[in-house]
């Protein structure tokens, strides 16, 4: 249970960083932290105490193993998160070229 709670704390740290911070890079880091907290949550769902790695090999019975599906899900979300962060960083660099700042309160040409 405490592990899930830690997950929640990590999520809140990331959410705080996205909502409250003014620097674009810090917002991107916040998105990354949230992604990792959700990945951790997904892995924790499939975990069981004293569980084995879910590898089926010769002479081994599959007893008491952790859920492999959640691990596959986490792997997929990690890849999606990587591409998201990549697009975000590229955008941040281009925004810095155009505006000369990372401060989102100064990046406000769109109104209405």
């Amino acid at each position: 249970m405490s592990l899930y709670f830690m997950c929640l704390i990590l999520f809140s740290v990331g959410l705080y960083s996205v909502v409250r911070k003014r620097n674009i890079i810090k917002i991107i880091i916040g998105i990354g932290i949230i992604e990792y907290s959700v990945n951790l949550f997904i892995i924790l769902i499939g975990y069981r105490l004293q569980g084995r790695a879910p590898i089926l090999a010769r002479d081994q019975t599959i007893e008491n193993m952790v859920d492999p599906l959640t691990q596959a899900m986490a792997l997929t979300t990690i890849v999606i998160g990587l591409s998201l962060i990549f697009i975000a960083v590229t955008l941040a660099i281009r925004i810095y070229e155009k505006y000369g700042t990372f401060d989102i309160t100064k990046i406000r040409r769109l109104r209405g």
């Binding site: 792997l75 890849v79 590229t90 070229e97």
Partner: protein, 132 residues
């Protein structure tokens, strides 16, 4: 190669020694993926890391002569197309098994060139900005 660019002599020497090993380890991970932990994705990441290692040690210019965005894109699309082709052959029923090592290789090509091209794009953008 130009001695001025990149990191110190120690790093360059060590890099020369280790880069090949990392590369071969990546290929090993890629090839054994169909029967044990590993596979195209992990192998591709390790292969890409070996190239990124080269950039870090020898500087940007040494690599940009051999590799640029356009070539990276060609590699990415050919990797993806190879994987799509293999899987379509599977769907059409031409092959049913024995394709895993090949599709692992295609994925590794896609992932390694993709990660490396991402890295190139980012440092390309960053260096352009420094000039201005």
């Amino acid at each position: 190669m130009n001695n001025q660019a990149g990191m110190s002599l120690i790093v360059k020497t060590i890099t020369r020694l280790t880069v090949g090993l990392i590369f071969i380890y990546g290929i090993y991970i890629m090839l054994q993926g169909h029967s044990s932990p590993g596979g195209g994705f992990a192998g591709g990441v390790i292969i890409a890391l070996s190239f990124i290692h080269l950039i870090l040690a020898f500087g940007r210019k040494a690599v940009f002569q051999k590799m640029n965005e356009a070539r990276g894109l060609i590699l990415i699309s050919s990797g993806a197309l190879a994987f799509l082709l293999l899987s379509t052959l599977g769907f059409l029923g031409i092959f049913s098994k024995g394709l895993m090592p090949f599709s692992d290789a295609a994925i590794a090509l896609l992932v390694s060139s993709g990660l490396f091209a991402m890295f190139l794009v980012l440092i390309g953008l960053a260096s352009k900005e420094k000039k201005q």
